[in-house]
Symmetry: C2
Subunit: 196 residues, 2 copies
Amino acid sequence: MSNFSNTSDEILASARNLIMSGGYNGFSYADISEVVGIRKASIHHHFPSKVDLVRELVKRYREDGQAAAKALEQSVPDALELLKVYANYWAKCIEDASRPYCVCALLGSELPSLPPEVAKEVTAFFRFISSWLASVIERGARQGALNLTSEPHVEAEAFLATVYGAMLSARAYARPEVFGTIMTPALARLTPTASR
Amino acid sequence: MSNFSNTSDEILASARNLIMSGGYNGFSYADISEVVGIRKASIHHHFPSKVDLVRELVKRYREDGQAAAKALEQSVPDALELLKVYANYWAKCIEDASRPYCVCALLGSELPSLPPEVAKEVTAFFRFISSWLASVIERGARQGALNLTSEPHVEAEAFLATVYGAMLSARAYARPEVFGTIMTPALARLTPTASR
DNA sequence: GACTACCTGCCTACTAGAAGGTAGACACCC
DNA sequence: GGGTGTCTACCTTCTAGTAGGCAGGTAGTC
């Protein structure tokens, strides 16, 4: 509560960036030490093991997501608008290359080879994000703000899959705009016919 | 051309399985040597470096995909049916856990940290699969076998993203049936209204 | 105020094991 | 005899992780 520019936060931030580009086995304590400007041993002081570090990282990632979701629901009452804001968040991240990939998308695909403690957190992230989207979509359907063709939870899974698939495509082709190309019609499909 | 049960094929097959679960940095020559029952040095005889091994692996993966796509187009003339067969191939792979993930999906998400030679092959795979899907969808639209709401190449990107996103979700929740849950409505949406 | 004790964050120096890779020998086969 | 496939033995570099020391700050006690 005293130190302003917290070292352990810097460690987590650089680990996040490194995972974002190469996954769990794609970075080492040496990589972090170079970025943060600290010795390897000092990282172990903050996070005794690599599992501790990544577990904490994913836990916070989920908690931050949960807080952002809550804030978003209060500031954006319209469900369709909310989904657009969510999609747009990723579009911006990918386009300006600031956070061009979701940490959990990468860890999720590596899931079978991840240490179980980390895998648990990653699964928890996906459960959160999918149930949040389902609740948003369910509410939107009740209010007539969304045009659904399936059950809300199915639409939520489809929407999530589209976002994460679009993220992969944007990366695989090295063409950030692909994300928008895929998301625009996906959002149009959810727009009520009256306002279309 | 002489050896029946080719050792280098066995090496490639086990590398494929290992990459499928943990990505490029998630396996080592020692892992392969255990599976194949051969010494590390013998693997270097077939594939001098790890880059050689994975480059060849992805190249063949793409070539096999191209051959399968060609064969599929001849045996399944209807575009919608073809997309169903393609989706069903992955559904089966995920459900019986034989090949529960696309090698290139994993390598694609790790793209920025991959050796450039490997990255090139992975990008080539995505370019192939997306242009193949676009051609199938374009043909289907011309023949009235598909119901499109966007340009064929946009529909192709959306379809591909859905497949790969659904793959990730199935893995992230450890629930194989999620793949089908997402793909069924996606395919229904492409079905012409007359036959719906 | 001074002494002691502890805590925090960082350091140097080190370890064991795993990583990718090499050198060279042996056996088999055309 | 030359090519192919395998082996043992080895190398270098990187990996996560440990041991122990030191500086600076804080808190308690006389």
